[in-house]
């Protein structure tokens, strides 16, 4: 049976024995979503938005849809994937199931807990009704599929005027109890007026088996709120992810999403920002460092709908061996969105002849009093710079790494959590295969 049929036919069983006492509203959202998915199916290369990214090889596999969780996983197994040297709230999911023993949740000043409880408890009904699947709906078939099978994920609800002192870490582990699995985590983040929260998200395969993660995150940022969301994608060579992250912002809010793609088989990021007010700032930062036959596809959208807003987008890519990258950055400035400042930059270095990047800046501007710019470069390592550094005694390998480090530096500089910055710097050094004796 093909995966699509398997998913559609599993849906009823899932609805019936999901174990969730859902109200009819969520039921109907899910039913509608599976219908949409059935109609649209998985994206193929015929879709313009998926021209350079094929899921075909993954969809041929006999992916398990409801893996059983590995209860033997302990702190020692996951420790290295946590940012350990900071106080934080943690939400740990093992094979799609929440692990309360390893997690550190709260309901004190804010809710840092799980979506399964939000979907079923009357206390959260209003929030779920107001926010759940309001931006993700009718978007793309992968998001529809996730909605249909929504069961578990992070639920973060920050009331107004709350500065969340500790960052929140969301970690999704796959243990490989089954040879090939599909996971569909779903996160809902609501940040009230004047509040501030920092979130770090990571998906990690602990085995050598195949994992396809189809993740959806909806983020709502109210007036003057500040959200920093960091995505660490440093998974194994047999792990793939389709990540759809949707952000809706109210006036004077600042939302930043940082995406670090260092490992995985196929990585597809759909990142979309929608404005609902004036004086909004949206920041999109990304750095991809890939080798082998790894593939990353960053599809971004910033929809400027109101005047006096700004967006800053900076994506950098370093591609070695036969790795491939896609950057598709769409910026829409609607007619009403006068005085918009929208900046987009995408710089790439191809280290080997076999590497490839497809870059497509896409600006659609309907307002006439705006400042919009985009820049895209694709280059190789500067040989004259290498010789210059070598002539000062820096070996070629270190010289290369130093140049690549410097190339990615402005993206790393934007990290606001020092411990995370150190971790990302180390991951970059690891991925470039060097140990640098200093920090940039």
């Amino acid at each position: 049976m093909e995966l699509k049929e398997k998913l559609v036919s599993s849906f009823l069983a899932f609805e019936n024995k999901g174990g969730l006492d859902l109200d009819s509203n969520v039921h109907s959202i899910r039913s509608k979503a599976i219908q949409n998915f059935e109609k649209e199916g998985f994206p193929t290369k015929k879709d313009e938005e998926w021209k350079y990214t094929s899921l075909k090889s993954l969809l041929k596999k006999d992916l398990g849809l409801f893996p059983s969780t590995d209860k033997t996983i302990g702190f020692k197994d996951i420790k290295e994937y946590l940012i350990n040297d900071i106080e934080s709230y943690t939400l740990i999911f093992i094979d799609g199931v929440f692990n309360s023993f390893l997690s550190d949740t709260t309901h004190d000043d804010c809710d840092v807990c799980v979506l399964s409880s939000a979907l079923t408890r009357p206390k959260y009904k209003m929030i779920v009704d107001n926010y759940f699947n309001t931006i993700a709906k009718d978007n793309n078939s992968m998001a529809e599929l996730n909605t249909a099978f929504t069961k578990e994920g992070a639920f973060i609800n920050i009331p107004k005027n709350t500065i969340v002192q500790k960052p929140i870490q969301i970690l999704n582990f796959s243990t490989g109890k089954e040879k090939e699995v599909m996971l569909q985590p779903r996160n809902l983040v609501v940040v009230g007026e004047n509040s501030h929260v920092q979130i770090i998200e990571r998906h990690q395969n602990l085995s050598k088996n195949t994992t396809l993660t189809n993740s959806v995150t909806e983020i709502f940022v109210h007036k003057r709120a500040i959200v920093d969301f960091y995505k660490i994608q440093d998974d194994t060579k047999d792990s793939s992810i389709v990540d759809s992250t949707f952000v809706t912002q109210k006036q004077q809010s600042i939302a930043s999403v940082h995406t670090y793609s260092f490992g995985g088989k196929i990585i597809r990021n759909n990142l979309e920002f929608y404005h609902e007010g004036e004086h909004i700032t949206s920041n999109l930062n990304g750095i991809s460092i890939l080798n082998d036959k790894q593939h990353v596809d960053n599809h971004t959208l910033v929809n400027h709908k109101y005047p006096n807003c700004e967006s800053h987008e900076l994506y950098k890519g370093i591609y070695d061996d036969k790795s491939t990258g896609v950057f598709n950055g769409k910026v829409i400035v609607e007619q009403e969105a006068q005085k918009t400042n929208a900046f987009q930059q995408n710089n790439n270095i191809l280290i080997s002849d076999g590497a490839e990047i497809n870059a497509k800046p896409q600006l659609e501007i309907f307002a006439d009093d705006v400042k919009c710019s985009h820049g895209c470069t694709i280059g190789q390592l500067d040989e004259s710079a290498l010789f210059y550094m070598q002539s000062r005694g820096i070996p070629k390998k270190e010289a290369k790494a130093l140049l690549l480090f410097a190339f990615g530096n402005d993206v790393v500089e934007k990290i606001k959590i020092p411990q995370l910055k150190t971790r990302i710097t180390k991951l970059i050094a690891k991925n470039l295969g060097v140990d640098l004796g200093f920090e940039l």
Binding site: D382, F387, Y388, Q390, S391, R392, G393, I394, K396, F438
Partner: protein
Amino acid sequence: MLEVKNLHASINDKEILKGINLNIKPGEVHAIMGPNGSGKSTLSAVVAGKEEYEVTDGSVILNGEDLDDLAPEERAHKGIFLSFQYPVEIPGVTVTNFIKTAINESRKAKGLEELPAKDMLKLIREKADLLEIDRKFLSRSLNEGFSGGEKKRNEIFQMAMLEPKLAILDETDSGLDIDALKIVANGVNKLKSKDNAVIVITHYQRLLDYIVPDFVHVLHNGKIVKSGGKELAFELEEKGYDWLK
């Protein structure tokens, strides 16, 4: 110290150096002069080990060791320093971090421990003062947005830090006004000792008023066509190069 014997080198199958012979002893300053395209910069690049150039015949010997198989960084570790005519801009790497890395890589190659941060800082300040370099300048990205004079001063600053045995100054005077020229020349003179040697590559005699050579060689069409004392530089300034062709 440095012996260049019958050196032939080409790039993309085009022969640029056609049999160069040079013998440089510790404590000496040699000037290499010549018109554009005579091979001056090629000679310095070949000695520093730039890979694009192929040595087709002859050899470069430093303190008895043939450098032929050595990478540029290995040559640097053995004490060769090339001050670039056009120093490369490296955004994102500060002057301080760059020189720290260079010093520590050199030390590593010699089996030494990394220089403690405190000593490094002291050394950097001392050498920056020697070249009259503003401290603020040290935390800027290497050569990025530097004026011509700043770039050249930064080259000599790095030379001062690395303390090479043989320094090759490739057209260090180009793009310098007279004040910057004096500062750079003064820096070079202070670094000169009986144990190290300097090759000054220049088009004009101007720099040689400040860095006085023991020997002057004229390079033309890939060969040294005339050698002499410092008075040869004055003669060239007066007559040009045509009489030598």
